[in-house]
Symmetry: C2
Subunit: 396 residues, 2 copies
């Protein structure tokens, strides 16, 4: 296929399904959707367009309204506006994105009901902006919060987002009013790329009040990202799908201010399902806008963050922490019994013994997947374990 | 001994040592200070007064300045003012008080340096007020906080203390300005007994501004308590010793507002050393007055409390919770792997197998003593384990 043919084919497939689905992923990558690289997209597009017999019934049903779509207009719009469509076939596809869904599937945990059954990895992203997507998210934190931010929420968002950006983390958020916008603006202020993950087409300025902010973000080297084709309006279910993408792209998710019912907590659920670090900023117990954060801290579903340093310490490898002036002596104390259990369950350098994959580590240690992941990160930072693909191996 | 002789003897011993000491306890109860009941106080008083050879050198040294004290004045003052001296020989001595120190010794945990080496149980308490001491503390929470309370701290203290009192918990605090006084006043408001644990003699109104508050507390059925003989002025080391007593008397300790360095956190250290539940109220990360609470929550040394209900749920037996309208279904989910580990390590009803005492449970499960204690409380509430003296036995 030519580049243009490939673009049209992916744009077509992305257009005819509303949301990513496992049956579609299985068709696109018959050897496993966890393997990035060449796909069967041409055959899949043909099957979708011709309603051929190889199409699973459920997928045929789900695409019955849109299969005759012509992607030419999408291609023309993209060419005119400088958008691209990034897929696992491209070098800039972030491996972390697919890896998040692999970890979710492997962890075998009982996920929050809000994320259960929606676990299909994205297969194509509309992107606007110059930076490579994988570079932009390599060292990143998703920072989200309530639309109805209080003055306290605004204050802590500026402080946390500014400090994270100053420490070199790109900031991912949803572009919404309230906390999200403060996050993006803090990144602009610190001249660090920021990524807006949208719940609508790239040409739909939502919310309208942020049209200029989005232009500033792109001008400053940031990215606008969406799974949705041009012209798609925002909708409730698209916000939830968007939250999944925002959490999958980054190293960790931080909620700065959220009431008990909040889309920001849905993003945190996703980060949890992807077995990534989750953080929340506490606030007054008298403020409804903080009760969602407090609930997550109380139930140990998020780590309490007093300042950005709490995230920076946990997300930075050991050597970098020391360069940042955080004492190594603090970390050396971290070899607790959980760490020891995880080391004992990891693979041996000889290749004999345990396999060292996450599900085995969880089973062998009897610890929650979340705890194992935290220990793995600690131990990698301490140089006690190293990673090879999805296996964890002891460093002797 | 007559009652008066006994009083004089205890008052003398209490007067000649500054703080309780293990060598003294060993003399008072040669069969173990963990056994309440008859003591060798007469022989000990004789040995102290005569500087006899049976006196350990360290104890002789420590009492060399005061051994010739005449307790008659103490007795006269007590008679005139209606004070009493409560010891483990009295029915009203709270078993929980001694049990706290037994648990501390048994847990074998590495205690915070602020409590290490000061672990001798009290052996005599000066008490003013009508209520029996054991009755007053049977269902009680120690609530403490900073002297430099913010408006937020005042607000949450009134709310938490009022709700705890309304739920029938007597409130123990230190009578200090700031948070402590708000705690006592909330109890008065709710017509629930409140206990002031003093760092000076009962006749020393400290702080002076609270002389009237202390009278109100006694008039309302509450108690003033001190280990220190009449006339003893407050001093820094006495505040620390007082904190130990405040934490030992209650079921749990709550810090409502405390900066990173605060006497309230010392009280929390003691509760932790006594393997009792510890709670802290979060606050804004921008408020220095809350940073001590946040630090304890972040490091899992205190449970985050959003409202008094968080304490009431944890401290009330299951049946009572249901009567209070808290759902049993929440509790049934609590059988996590830690619970299962603790059940497996507990004694069998047959009497064979594990002993089921705390040190064995800690060793067999590999869990921190604090976690084991929390599980034991949960499992007792669920009816999965029952307690027999200091042994935990499975309910089949």
């Amino acid at each position: 296929m030519t580049t243009q043919e490939k673009f049209l084919t992916w744009a077509y497939v992305r257009r005819v399904v509303e949301a990513s689905r496992v049956d579609l992923l299985d068709m696109l990558w018959p050897d496993g959707w966890d393997q990035a690289g060449p796909s069967q997209v041409r055959a899949v597009a043909d099957a979708l367009a011709r309603r051929a017999g190889t199409l699973p019934d459920a997928l045929a049903d789900a695409t019955s309204q849109r299969y005759d779509h012509d992607p030419t207009a999408d291609a023309e719009l993209a060419a005119a506006r400088g958008w691209r469509l990034v897929t696992p076939e491209d070098d800039e596809w972030p491996t972390e994105l697919t890896a998040s869904f692999v970890r979710m599937a492997d962890s075998g945990a009982d996920h929050d009901s809000s994320v259960r059954g929606q676990a299909a990895a994205p297969f194509a992203l509309w992107v606007r902006g110059d930076m490579r997507l994988d570079t932009a998210v390599r060292r990143s934190v998703t920072v989200v919060g309530t639309r109805a931010a209080t003055r306290y929420g605004e204050q802590v968002t500026k402080s946390f987002a500014g400090d994270l950006a100053d420490a070199g983390f790109s900031l991912i958020s949803g572009g919404a009013i309230g906390i999200d916008a403060l996050v993006h603006r803090a990144a602009l202020q610190s001249q660090i790329p920021t990524l807006v993950v949208m719940a609508c087409g790239l040409d739909v300025p939502y919310p309208k009040a942020h049209a200029e902010l989005f232009e500033q973000i792109v001008a400053a080297g940031g990215l606008l990202i969406s799974e949705y084709p041009p012209g798609t309006p925002p909708a409730r279910h698209r916000f939830l799908t968007r939250n999944r993408l925002a959490a999958a792209l980054s190293q960790a998710t931080l909620v700065v201010e959220a009431p008990l019912r909040s889309g920001a907590l849905n993003t945190l659920n996703w980060a949890e399902a992807f077995v990534k670090p989750t953080f929340a900023v506490p606030g007054p117990v008298t403020s409804h806008a903080s009760l969602g954060c407090l609930e997550r801290i109380r139930t140990s579903r998020a780590t309490l963050a007093v300042s950005a340093r709490d995230l920076i310490e946990e997300l930075s490898p050991l050597g970098e922490q020391m360069a940042l002036g955080f004492g190594a002596e603090d970390r050396s104390e971290l070899l607790n019994w959980e760490h020891v259990a995880v080391i004992d369950a990891a693979a041996l350098p000889s290749g004999r013994g345990p396999e060292g994959r996450l599900p085995q580590l969880v089973e062998a240690t009897g610890l929650p997947a979340r705890t194992v992941i935290r220990c793995l990160r600690d131990l990698e930072g301490m140089g006690r374990l190293r990673r090879e693909a999805d296996r964890w191996i002891r460093v002797e």
